[in-house]
Amino acid sequence: MRMSKIVRTGANLLYPFILIFGLYVIMHGHLTPGGGFQGGAVVATAAALVIVAYSYEEVTGMLKKTAMKARESIGLLLFIGAGIAALAVGAPFFYNFLANSGLLFGMPVPAGPNPGDLNTAGVIPIMNIAVGIEVWGGLAVILLYMLSGIRKEES
């Protein structure tokens, strides 16, 4: 069942902004309140909005279940990979080997209050992105599965 044209237009307008806000929360997890789980939930809210506004048949072309499953698995693998990469360097599992190293996300942070630099915190932003992708895919898959179950009941 699809909603009225007003709801669909509003969903079309809001969809990119919700995505951008969620990705901002994920990307700035090591500087501002929030992080992977919270930002992933915000991004999944965009999927929920589209699913509510449109019917299941129209949504399946836009939000593919296989792509969301792949996102979830890739997120978890990236998270575990970031932990195993520390083993390859010679540090303990989940050691933050990129912090203060000068490489990717490796800038040192001055002590005390400071405006914040995105290029800091070592492994933490990579794990934030991984968890964000995983939560996005996972919650969207749950919503799509439940919606397909409802459609099955109606027909």
């Binding site: 997890g29 090591h30 500087l31 501002t32 309140p33 992080g35 992977g36 789980f37 979830e72 997120g75 978890l76 998270f79 575990i80 932990g83 599992f93 989940f94 933050n96 912090a99 203060n100 490796g106 800038m107 040192p108 942070v109 001055p110 002590a111 005390g112 400071n114 914040g116 800091t120 915190a121 070592g122 492994v123 933490i124 794990m127 934030n128 968890v131 995983e134 939560v135 996972g138 898959v141 749950i142 599965y145 439940m146 397909s148 179950g149 099955k152």
Partner: protein
């Protein structure tokens, strides 16, 4: 008898619960060395301004791995419950 005993136990427990603030000062937990360590060294060790994130993803990253696996398992469970099979192929 049973009711009276229940009432007495309830009164004792409620009194104890109300008496806790009299013995413990607010904002001063018994063991705070760990908190002070995180606050003092979090910025220099994990190089992140958000100390909550540095605890969740760096100091206790293994715990977060468990959270992620729990979410993954929940999605797999929902998929098993709501999947509709037809002729051996997922619909």
């Amino acid at each position: 008898m049973r009711k009276i005993l229940t009432a007495i136990i309830f009164v004792v427990l409620a009194t104890g619960l109300c008496a806790i603030p009299a013995f413990l000062a607010f904002g001063e937990p018994a063991a705070s060395e760990m908190d002070q360590y995180f606050i003092g060294h979090g910025q220099s060790e994990a190089a992140a301004n958000n100390i909550v994130t540095s605890i969740v993803f760096d100091y206790r990253g293994f715990d977060t791995l468990g959270e992620s696996v729990v979410l993954f398992t929940a999605v797999v469970g929902v998929g098993l419950m709501f999947r509709s099979m037809k002729g051996g192929k997922e619909q």
